[in-house]
Amino acid sequence: MSLLAIRDLEIRFRDGAEERLLIDRVSLELKKGEILGLVGESGSGKSLLCRAVMGLLPSRKLSVTKGHVSLAGRDITRLPEREMLDIRGRRIGMIFQNPTSHLDPVMRIGDQIAEGLCRHRGLPRAAAREEAVTILRQVGFTDPPRQARMYAHEFSGGMRQRAMIAVALACDPDILIADEPTTALDVTIQAQILRQLAELRESRGLSIILITHDLGVVAQTCDRIAVMRDGRIVEEGEKRRLLAAPQHPYTQALIASHPSLPHEEAVGDPYQPHSRPLIEIDDLEVSFPAGGSPWARRRFKAVDGVSLRIGRGETVGIVGESGSGKSTLARTLLGLQPVTSGHVAFDGSVLTLERARTLARLRREAAMVFQDPFNALNPRLTVGETLAEVLRVQGKVPRAAIPARVNELLDMVGLDRGFAGRRPRSLSGGQCQRAGIARALAVDPTLIVADECVAALDVTIQAQIVELFRTLVAAQGLTLLFIAHDLAIVRSLCERVVVMQHGRVVEDGPSAEVFARPSHPYPAALIAAIPSIDPDQPLAAAMPDPRSQTQQEGLLT
């Protein structure tokens, strides 16, 4: 008998006369000690389904209209709240995507763990606190007695997620629902957390539902995979079977758009060391004030001694985890961030020597695409107004020709011309990002700097945007600087890759070579930590000892 069974579950949204079906006859089973991967893009209903299992629908306008959920044979669908309280945390634990917002900022970590222990196991406060220390040790905290007295903001992102796992597992539940537990984390930390979950399954016989949008995350951790779309399970089955022979077209599309598959050749001209480079960076350092007392100001070096040459027509991926200095490098290059020392030159004019002239050239020949597409467009202007404004300021197109050019730009990025009259808020993330790219193209640039521009998008949309860049680079001979934390995307788009860590360049070379034979241990670890869609590839094989990594993180506080 399965531990958790969902049968023909239907969830509806009702608001007055408006009614929508959000979860449509979903059936799922979870066996003891099993890890089930629940995969879907945003809006597929995967999170909602799991909230329903917990009896925690996020709004009163939502209700389970059909079907039932049973836990170890007992129907818990319409259990009174009082009885549900004994199930939540005690039988089913839950962890979430964003530990920062889910942990109480004003309560000590240890107390948040102890809270559940007092509630479910009736422990007195002091005993619960001691137990909390033990649990923190189990999930990889190095100095739990001290760390139990710390607050969420004093930990790094990875440690916060571990803390949340500790809170969820405090009362030893049978089932853990993990809702996108690694989406907000860097790839090496993601591997650690996934490994932690796998270990907990082994040591405790825990059953896990792992919700994610990334097939790579489930490929190595899960036993079975269920794919959700628009509130339905479109396909479900044993992991290997499903990945090797997907039946449903949507599953096929998801697998095809997964960036870990080097399904297409990189675009762009190969690296030519002898021609005059478009961008020359020499021993660049960029630092920020990092607090400290007024008499002993500390500075944080975001970019620390970087030298780089980039030729015309190259496509260069700059890769690194958060805080590696890749975005600062790009902004400095565009003259948006002051240089602390060293030199930056664009097409022969040196930014640090002839600032005004170089800036004037940069503004007319380079353009940027940003991470958060909604934030990158002025919310008060329509897409058409935004594009027309750039064209007017740049003055490369005669005034009378501007409306026609706006239409051309929309065509180039694959947006219907009707979008000219719409404001960012009424667009989807992918459409918005296309508008952002159109704005960059309005400059008619030789260089485009794209800063994490697909990180906020669903995988199928990511694939479309990458495809758009591929066409644009091929058609217009652009030089592309593509900044990303996702190595797989870079591999499929860029001809050359630069890996950054702690403000320094640790690897630089043709993508094919770097990915095949990384010369530095850090890129090697990064590449190994990419969740591959191949289920037989071990999880984060080449990772350094996770314990030492954990200790490093503990020091981050």
Binding site: N375, A376, G436
Partner: protein, 275 residues
């Protein structure tokens, strides 16, 4: 009628009631000479301290003046207090906040220190001290308001500009070669103003209360002019025998303030601004 102004009032009771109240007071102020049943200033010793009746729905005061007529005429002065008392600080504060937030550096430091010092004084205390020097009267009130009231707008706009400045669309504008004035006036300021528009409404309430309080203390509008704060002060001596002199002008203040508050809340919902 309100729907005719183009406001989306359907299914928005706050917006509907708020704008209806403001409109009612505006009409009362504009049409006072025609709709007020009596002269607000003319005294009539024969009808002193009459309680509310059909002829005098709000009663009469100790000079035999009709309280209803004085409340209607009072709308003229109190609406003017709320509008002008907000307008000058708003203009000064927006200008200062935009400059300080956009340029930063010593301009910012200078204004922020000045704001710190002004905020160290309780608002009403500084207002009263300035009025003490300028002498009582409505003009002194407006000058004092302009000297003191701008700080909250400056702080609000500055904070907004500082946040907006780091948003990607502002960085984008910079990277596209837009001029500083274009970034400031076309991209930052319009987005910053949405928040202060909501604040304008709640500030109008505070200004109205302050103006009435200062007049109540005898330092603002001078008798015999009909102003609600003055009327409350005049009624205070008769609170035990003729409560209506005090009650109705106070209710007028509460109602007008309610209108501003509702409109502010509704605008906040509409513009998606949180206070």
């Amino acid at each position: 009628m309100i729907a005719a102004l183009g406001l989306p009032v359907r299914r928005r009771p706050m917006l509907a009631i708020g704008s209806a109240l403001l409109l009612a007071f505006l009409l009362a102020a504009l049409l006072a000479p025609w709709i007020a049943p009596f002269d607000p200033i003319a005294q009539d010793g024969s009808i002193r301290l009459h309680p509310p009746s059909l002829a005098h729905p709000f009663g009469t005061d100790n000079f035999g003046r009709d309280v209803l007529s004085r409340v209607i005429w009072g709308a003229r002065i109190d609406l003017q207090i709320a509008v002008l008392g907000v307008l000058f600080p708003f203009l000064i504060g927006t200008a200062v906040g935009t400059l300080a937030g956009f340029f930063g550096g010593w301009i910012d430091a200078l204004f922020m220190r000045l704001i710190d010092v002004i905020l160290a004084f309780p608002f009403l205390v500084l207002m009263l001290s300035i009025i003490a020097i300028l002498g009582p009267g409505l003009t002194s009130f407006y000058i004092a308001m302009a000297l003191v009231g701008w700080v909250s707008y400056a702080r609000l706009i500055r904070a907004q500009i500082l946040v907006l400045k780091t948003q990607d669309f502002a960085v984008a504008a910079q990277s596209l070669g837009f001029s500083r004035t274009r970034i400031m006036f076309r991209h930052l300021l319009p987005n910053a103003l949405a928040g202060s528009l909501v604040f304008v409404m709640s500030d109008a309430v505070l200004v109205l209360l302050n103006g009435a309080a200062i007049s109540y203390l005898g330092l603002g509008v001078q008798p015999p002019l009909a102003e609600w704060g003055v009327m409350v002060a005049e009624g205070q001596a008769f609170i035990t025998t003729a409560w209506w002199i005090t009650l109705f002008p106070g209710l007028a203040i509460v109602t007008l303030a309610f209108g501003f508050s509702l409109l502010g809340d509704a605008l906040g919902d509409l513009l998606g601004v949180k206070e």
